[in-house]
């Protein structure tokens, strides 16, 4: 980084992923101090509590160490060594704290520090109170995961506390103190949740006013928290992603839920409950006020309609709208919420994901019939020029009446159309991951690596065709989905998408194995040319006929004929046998 990068700090830090880190390295002393102050404000409590918990230090020693650590951040240029590609900042800081405390112990030179560098008052008394209220299991201390979890949780608590304080100041500035009180009563209280009606009575306002006030407060809280997070070198993924999922504290959960909850004011929908998180956003159930029906509402994580994710969500809605088929979930509406997030609504499907549903289906023929219905939907999409590109059990829903619906068309490719090149958001189940560097290919297939060269790899390992895994997006066609269908068929039959045998696992019939092998051939030219042909082979197998994927011997043909008509053959044989016996008896 050149010095010019840091000379025009201005009043605010740039909203980049590493803004505070960069500002701390700035040659502008004022900016550097502000950055350190921001860093310290967010991290001093987690560091202090961590020293108290992990290193079991008395309060006064922990206070010294905490102040010394933040001073050392500058003196030892620890932040210069931070590499965002290798770890998150909070993980790096936690490791630095360990190293710092350990070194201090070895040197035996703890002495009072502080004063010049730290510009924020460190309220160690409140930190001690919080520490006393935190449930900590000493037995977990040796576990590296528990250390990470503890520091993570305290960091989020610290960040939220700062954001809540900012929100309070904002409410005071806008003369909306009552809104803050409502927010505090509803979202910050750790006890039993109070209802909107109770708040309405308590504050002497209508339920609608309570709803509006809380929606505004959550929207502002979310904005403030996101701003702080961006400033602190974090990212929206960290704010919204699974890193925070293990938080158990009720108030933190409510804050997070409240901040995430979409503001449906101005739409015809009323939010009911959260259903799932997908690659791009969260799916809720909502009630359509006009049509009085329940719908599924998929809303993007991040505000704005001009980003790549927003484009992808809108594109997904349009793809779904173009595919009217009983096996494809219909889309009802698309739009932008008051908080700037893009959403679309679709049919609410009550049912199970295929991987869960299949556990209750023991018979092979029933599983194959489900598979044929999936093929039907995919073949229809192909006929409309749409590739799914992410077919896997988690993206198939089976309804209460056995209806099969292919979901999540977020990665769909419209044949003949340009494909979005920047879609790089990661799915919690590694649905989307970036192209591995050559050195990493032999390693963990789900590892997220930095994109190099052309093409972003999208799909799910195990279900993704080789050409898709190579990022060869331009040459993908229906045979890429056929590969995924082959893996899906194998999953339905033996419980895994790959061919590798599982000890004690089911043995696959030769014809079915041949269908799977043909559809998952490495070369697209060796696969079925269309989904219909693959489905036809599966249907032929179900009917006891020969499949096109495999040439049978005469013996196998006879065996198949016998299996198909075994009862009739046995009956006729019994009749003839009985006739012969009777004739022999009558001739005596």
């Amino acid at each position: 980084m050149s010095e010019e990068d840091f000379q025009h700090g201005g009043d605010r830090f740039p909203l980049t992923r590493r803004s505070v880190i960069e500002a701390v390295r700035s040659i502008d002393e004022e900016e550097r101090d502000r950055a350190l102050e921001a860093l310290c404000a967010a991290y001093w409590k987690p560091v202090y509590k961590y020293v108290r918990w992990r290193w079991n230090r008395p309060a006064d020693v922990a206070q010294d160490l905490t102040q010394g650590f933040f001073m050392g951040l500058l003196e030892r240029e620890l932040l210069e060594k931070f590499d965002a590609k290798k770890s998150r900042l909070r993980t790096y800081l936690r490791v630095c704290v360990d190293s710092f405390v350990s070194n201090e112990d070895k040197a035996g030179r703890r002495h009072k520090r502080g004063g010049n560098v730290l510009h924020v008052a460190l309220d160690f008394v409140s930190a001690e109170e919080e520490l006393g209220a935190t449930v900590m299991d000493p037995a977990l201390i040796p576990s590296p995961e528990s250390l990470e979890e503890f520091f993570e949780k305290e960091w989020v608590r610290s960040l939220f506390a700062l954001a809540v304080e900012d929100l309070r100041e904002l409410c005071v500035a806008r003369e909306r103190e009552r809104t803050f009180h409502l927010f505090a009563a509803y979202d910050l209280e750790g006890g039993e949740k109070i209802s909107y009606q109770q708040l309405s009575k308590e504050y002497g306002i209508s339920v609608t006013d309570v709803t509006n006030a809380l929606a505004w407060a959550r929207r502002e809280f979310r904005r403030i928290a996101l701003e702080r997070l961006r400033e602190l070198c974090g990212s929206e993924e960290e704010w919204l992603g699974r890193e925070m999922k293990f938080l158990s504290d009720k108030a933190l959960e409510r804050l997070r839920d409240g901040a995430e909850t979409p503001d449906l004011a101005g739409t015809r929908y009323r939010l009911l409950e959260r259903v799932a998180r997908g690659g791009m956003g969260v799916v809720y159930t909502a009630e359509d006020g006009k049509l009085q029906r329940r719908v599924a509402l998929k809303v993007l994580d991040v505000p704005g309609t001009d980003g790549d994710l927003a484009n992808r969500l809108i594109r997904e809605a349009r793809v779904l709208a173009a595919l009217e088929h009983p096996g494809i979930v219909p889309v009802h509406d698309v739009g932008t919420l008051a908080d700037g997030r893009v959403f679309y609504t679709m049919k609410f499907v009550e049912g199970n994901r295929l991987d869960k549903y299949i556990e209750s289906v023991a018979s092979f023929p029933d599983r194959l019939r489900i598979f044929l219905r999936i093929c039907d939907a995919v073949a229809f999409a192909h006929a409309r020029g749409v590739l799914h590109r992410d077919l896997k059990p988690a993206n198939i829903m089976v309804g209460p009446f056995g209806e099969v619906l292919v979901m999540d068309w977020g990665l769909a490719k419209i044949l003949g159309a340009e494909v979005s090149s920047g879609a790089r958001e990661a799915d919690p189940e590694a649905t989307v991951f970036e192209k591995p560097k050559p050195a990493n290919i032999a390693g963990d297939a789900t590892e997220i690596s930095v994109v190099t060269g052309h093409g972003t790899v999208m799909g799910t390992p195990g279900y993704m065709s080789p050409e898709q895994a190579r990022g060869d997006v331009e040459h993908l066609d229906a045979r890429s989905d056929i590969y995924a269908l082959g893996a899906l068929l194998r999953f339905l039959l033996i419980g895994q998408p790959e061919m590798a045998p599982v000890p004690g696992g089911r043995r696959l019939d030769k014809s079915l194995a041949a269908i799977c092998a043909k559809s998952t051939a490495a070369a697209p030219a060796e696969r079925y040319p269309s989904v219909q042909e693959m489905a036809l082979d599966v249907s032929r197998y179900l009917d006891g006929l020969a499949v096109g994927a495999r040439r049978e011997s005469a013996f196998e043909k006879a065996g198949r004929f016998y299996r198909r008509y075994s009862v009739a053959i046995l009956l006729i044989a019994a009749y003839l046998f009985m006739r012969i016996i009777l004739l022999l008896v009558s001739r005596r």
Binding site: V567, A568, L571, I572, Y575, M578, L582, L583, S586, R587
Partner: protein
Amino acid sequence: MNKILLGVILGAVLGVFDGLTALFTPDPAIRAGIVGIIVGSTGKGLAAGLICGLFARKVRSMAGGIALGLFLGFLFALFVALGVHNYYVRIIIPGSIVGLIVGYATQK
């Protein structure tokens, strides 16, 4: 194929075949009356096939179809055997099995 038609055709074919097997008996009296045997055997096959076909159109049950076919085959063969006062085993057992096959086929 229409289940009633299938039952009738199969019953008739198996009935004819069942009647023709009488040609292999050593008793010349039986061979002399082969036409009557074939007609009678075909008639009971037709009747069993018709009833089994009607049943299959109303009820989807393999076990039920087989049981009904077996019962009808036995019943009709018993009537024939009682008519001739002889050859009970040689008439009733094949007749019952023909009924069973027709019952199975109409359900299949």
